[in-house]
């Protein structure tokens, strides 16, 4: 048994450090721009994101400053959220998983990981397309339920609790009517959302994909930005509402007085998934495919004009200049990325997967034995 100074005890049964999970030979390859690892090192950050159908990635740097990639199998990773410290929440095809980091700052696993996220619970919410996910100041999840057109929270007695519904929808009903898809948290509370349209008929939002996208302040139900093409991933950062305007391949912010989107950057791809690190935005990029939801958009014309191919991966954009600073591309038979999450202060994170034996053998306890009196008093028996 190995005791850490993290206030927790790790029962080391199989001399395990993360790595036991059965590997999936999916022939995916990550390609990074020169300087990307240095940038992660300088910013003291690592990044987490998923590439459906099955991969979840954590990208950091090792002790030599080289890129460190850690991946696990998770089913259709969509929205991601962290409380900035020890909790990581991951929306998958029909579940929300909550992971807890078990390592205290300054400690590492035997293999040198300075964060070890262990799965702690999963809420089954149904296959409802959880595009975006937040954790509120009380630690409760709040997420975008695209299929039912509402913000929702998980529950221990139902699939979900509807918490907010766009004013133009009849209710939290099955059927994607406006493609509600993004959520920005402000000071631990949900605040801004993105929709592709203001329509109330199932699938009718598809007709407005080129220019009917909006940003709504959910406290007032006021529309703060209009005319966007499939906007996603609103984020509130440095007093601005940032949006990935996916249908044009642009990253920008909302001019709330003019109710319009102000682009600062074009990236070759369907931009979706956004987080911030210092002066930089990290925006995800997916590949459109002819004839699918992501095609027939202004992005097609922009790509053709510029002679560029769309890419799957991450673009690191300097938000003070609008210039591309770094990139990380995922090559292989995948094309989507829904969200990216910054793990501040984490150099080289790892996560316990769901398929290997480690989910059963990784046991972590509060070190406090004998059991504290207050916990004894809280139990209903003598």
């Amino acid at each position: 048994m190995m005791s850490t100074d993290s206030g927790a005890t790790f029962l080391e049964e199989s001399a395990t450090t993360p790595g036991e999970e059965p590997s999936v030979n999916d022939n995916l390859e990550l390609l990074a721009s020169e300087g990307f690892a240095d940038w992660l090192n300088q910013e003291n950050v690592s990044l987490a994101f998923g590439t459906p159908p099955s991969k979840f990635w954590m990208v950091g740097v090792d002790d030599e400053g080289e890129l460190s990639i850690f991946d696990r199998v998770l089913d259709k990773v969509m929205g991601l959220a962290t409380d900035g410290h020890d909790r990581l929440s991951v929306a998958t095809r029909y579940e929300i998983w909550h992971f807890e980091n078990m390592l205290k700052a300054g400690t590492t696993t035997d293999s040198g990981h300075d964060r070890l996220f262990v799965p702690r619970s999963q809420s089954i919410v149904g296959n409802v397309n959880i595009h975006d996910l937040g954790i509120d100041k009380d630690g409760k999840d709040i997420w975008v339920n695209t299929r039912f057109g509402c913000l929702a929270s998980s529950s221990d007695h139902a699939s979900f609790i509807p918490r907010w519904i766009p004013p133009f929808l009849d209710g939290a009903l099955q059927g994607d009517r406006c493609h509600l898809n993004g959520l920005a948290m402000v000071d631990g509370e949900p605040r801004y959302v993105t929709c592709v349209g203001q329509t109330n008929e199932v699938d009718s939002w598809r007709d407005g994909r080129r220019d009917q996208g909006i940003v709504i302040d959910i406290r007032t139900n006021q529309i703060l930005g209009r005319g966007m093409s499939m906007p996603h991933s609103p984020r509130f950062y440095r007093d601005k509402i940032w949006v990935a305007n996916a249908g044009t391949g642009e990253l920008g912010y909302i001019d709330t007085e003019q109710e319009r989107f102000e682009p600062i950057f074009f990236g070759p791809g369907f931009l979706r998934g956004l987080c911030f690190v210092g002066d930089y935005a990290v925006v995800g990029s997916s590949k459109p495919r002819r004839g699918d939801l992501y095609s027939g958009l202004p992005l097609d014309e922009k790509l053709e004009e510029s002679g560029m191919d769309a890419h799957l991966g991450l673009f690191v954009v300097n938000i003070t200049t609008g210039e591309l600073a770094h990139w990380l591309l995922v090559e292989g038979n995948v094309r989507e990325l829904f969200d990216v999450c910054a793990l501040n202060g984490a150099k080289r994170p790892a996560i316990i997967g769901l398929l290997g034996s480690e989910i059963a053998t990784e046991l972590w306890f509060d070190d406090s034995l004998p059991i504290p009196q207050e916990r004894r008093e809280a139990v209903p028996f003598q």
């Binding site: 999963q122 089954i124 409802v128 209710g171």
Partner: protein
């Protein structure tokens, strides 16, 4: 599958055999508005009668040696590393297998391999009895578990199985009683002391009854504790004040689970080779050359076995039994099923602002 000569020999359906109720067991189901949940070798069976009196038995895949209980308005089920809560979503639409109560998995807690041998109901979800760490614990948002009671002599979270806790129950007056395979003084050699080394004790470690072999899953019937011994097949009624015990009956084979409802005990028992602990030889031999695992229904007022539910064929040990009262025709949904993925229960709107 093709034979050597190229002819197709056909597909073989390896579904487990449907358990067979005796007339007495059927009468019990007919007279009680409930579903019996039986954990049998990785299958959680729902056993009941439908509204027309037809026998219903439906298996749902979980993991081997799971535990099941009804607690705080939900069904709780353990797997090797998880603790699941299943909520009643009401009748299935469209109506499916006469389902009146579709039990959908809602939250799965990752607790790791604690070797849970019993679940104890409480108002805030169940306590897990961990044989591996000799503790009662709740699930926890941050750690694998949150212990609320530790057996005497246990100083650290070490998987020694000093006592090998086998069950627990809380009395109506909130007194905790636990069963253990040994008295906790043998360290890593506990396994050599299970014959006659088992006991029933309270929360302070005071021994109520010892000299038992593999007592497990204590329950209350009125004022008395009911305990079944895996090693002897004896079903005992114990006065918790004096420790005096009365033999209610002796079961065939090796008992492996116990549940009490009204004045009945439901006891799961099977062949010795599938014993909870390999030193348990159980009571008299089960009938037949290939004895089947079964649930026996025992009238606790007179010790009579009034019914049986027999699992023929590829059955395994029955590790846990509970009842879902006022819920005839419950149907359990596996967390990994497409049903779980594609069924939503939408709660009432709860506005953010």
């Amino acid at each position: 599958m093709s034979a050597a000569n190229g002819t197709r020999v056909g597909l073989v359906d390896l579904q487990p055999h449907v358990p067979t109720p005796s007339p007495g067991f059927s009468d019990f189901l007919a007279e009680h508005d409930l579903t019996v949940a039986v954990f049998e070798n990785g299958r959680l069976w729902s056993i009941s009668h439908d509204d027309e009196g037809n026998f219903l038995a439906h298996p749902t895949s979980f993991e081997p040696k799971g535990m099941v209980t009804w607690s705080s308005g939900q069904l709780w089920v353990t797997g090797r590393w998880s603790l699941w809560s299943l909520a009643d979503a009401g009748p299935s639409e469209p109506r499916h297998h006469s389902t009146n109560h579709l039990m959908l998995p809602q939250v799965g807690h990752v607790v790791g391999d604690l070797d849970v041998t019993d679940l104890v109901p409480s108002d805030q979800g169940p306590f897990m009895v961990s044989a591996r760490f000799d503790v009662l614990a709740r699930h926890d948002d941050r750690y694998s578990m949150s212990p609320v009671w530790v057996a005497p002599n246990v100083q650290t979270f070490t998987p020694l199985r000093q006592y090998f806790l086998t069950g627990a129950v809380i009395s109506p007056s909130n007194k905790l009683w636990v069963t253990a395979a040994t008295n906790g003084t043998h360290g890593e050699t506990w396994f050599d002391h299970v014959q006659g080394g088992g006991l029933v004790m309270n929360s302070t470690g005071e021994v109520l009854l010892d000299g038992l072999t593999g007592p497990l899953q204590p329950r209350f019937f009125g004022e008395n504790l009911i305990v079944v011994e895996a090693g002897t097949g004896r079903l005992l009624s114990i006065d918790p004040k004096s420790g005096d015990d009365v033999e209610v009956t002796v079961l065939t084979g090796v008992p492996s689970s116990l549940h009490v409802i009204d004045h009945f005990a439901l006891v799961g028992h099977g062949a010795p080779s599938r014993a909870l602990m390999s030193k348990m030889t159980g009571g008299p031999a089960l009938p037949g050359d290939y004895p089947s695992d079964r649930v026996s229904l025992i009238d606790l007022t007179n010790g009579t076995v009034v019914g049986t539910l027999v699992f023929e064929g590829f059955s395994g040990p029955i590790s846990s039994i509970t009842t879902l009262e006022n819920m005839r025709g419950a149907h359990f949904v596996s967390p990994r099923s497409s049903r779980s993925q594609n069924t939503c229960v939408v709660d009432e709107f709860s506005p953010l602002f």
